[in-house]
Symmetry: C2
Subunit: 211 residues, 2 copies
Amino acid sequence: MAPNHERIAAEHRGVGASRRRGAELEDAILDAAWEVLIEHGYHGFTYEAVAARAGTSRPVLYRRWPQRGDLLLATLSAFWQPIAVPETGGLRDDAIGFLRNANADRAPTITLMSVQLVDYFRDTGTSFSQLRDTILPPGRESAFETIVARAVGRGELPDVPRSPRVVNLPFDLLRHDLLTTMRAVPDESIVEIVDGVWLPLLGVSGAPSSG
Amino acid sequence: MAPNHERIAAEHRGVGASRRRGAELEDAILDAAWEVLIEHGYHGFTYEAVAARAGTSRPVLYRRWPQRGDLLLATLSAFWQPIAVPETGGLRDDAIGFLRNANADRAPTITLMSVQLVDYFRDTGTSFSQLRDTILPPGRESAFETIVARAVGRGELPDVPRSPRVVNLPFDLLRHDLLTTMRAVPDESIVEIVDGVWLPLLGVSGAPSSG
DNA sequence: CATTTAAGGTACGTTGCTGTATCTAATGCG
DNA sequence: CGCATTAGATACAGCAACGTACCTTAAATG
């Protein structure tokens, strides 16, 4: 008859804290869900595991998200943030800086996003690209479109049409490496992508050191 | 007391055939395993499903492959084939032809290989690249290394050092598109990769039509 | 033909997760 | 305070797959 259950749950959220409600509880659950997703992938992303990690019980989750996909979407929407685009005043540094940010931010998660979620994609018949469009506000300029536009504005690049493929090439290559190696890309790869591939393709001299 | 079981299993391998053994049985199992893997991914790649598809029983599988990873490795090794490199006599056509082959061959499987298998990668701490090295004989020249070397031999390209990243760029981009869209890449993308990215980067004029 | 090997079927207990139902007690609000 | 809400615990049946044990019978071997 002693309130043993409450004490157990309280351990998960710190001694002295009492029963959570509403947004506070929801945030705690989504935090837990995100951690589970990162650590164990979509396969381990079970109501059981999320509830345990959040220090609550499965019915609480079922009340809010009846389907696993609902919980997944809510979790991703809460944590998927756009990557910061640095503004260094130079095309090369903007590109390298952005790729470094992306590498740091996405290394733990992009493998998750497009890879761990395949079971979800399979179940729903969707794909990574589609999910991305669902989560992110559509019609937004991509980071490299911004970077190139700035360089054109500065006169660093000629104002000629460029295909999205060429503009976004660095990010695609970074993503490719992230996906196939499933870990953060070494910094030399980032420099190589920019100096050895992208800048030459844009007709810019390339690395400042090697001419 | 009637040999009912035998009759049931026989249905899966055609009437009149009797009990399979050794290599014959093993091949049939790997065929079934491959089909299951393609259709249901690693998640659905269970002893249960493979045994059922092969018309045999789980103990038969456990005797040969005690771990699920063993069965997976055996299956992939049996079915992972190198992609044909066409020999057209021209750099551009070699590249486009190879990418078309890769697109056709890998569209159903590369999403599987690097994407469906993440649970396996997670369990074993490996990655797509490592698995590839395990399956394929190492030290082999890549397809695009061959293609470039031929072009150099013909005098179509200057004999200068080129980074593996530049040489293999088209395949990496194709793979990127396959991974993120999870379906075959449209032919225009292949042409765009070669004419709009790779050939300009190599210092070749690009598409024959647009100048 | 006799013997050994192994395929094939069946059964069992176990595990992990699913949904749902039910109960309690804490919280917020009037 | 009194009431409605709902967090949190627990229990249940169900399912799918696991891994193993066992028995039989077919095929290979001598």
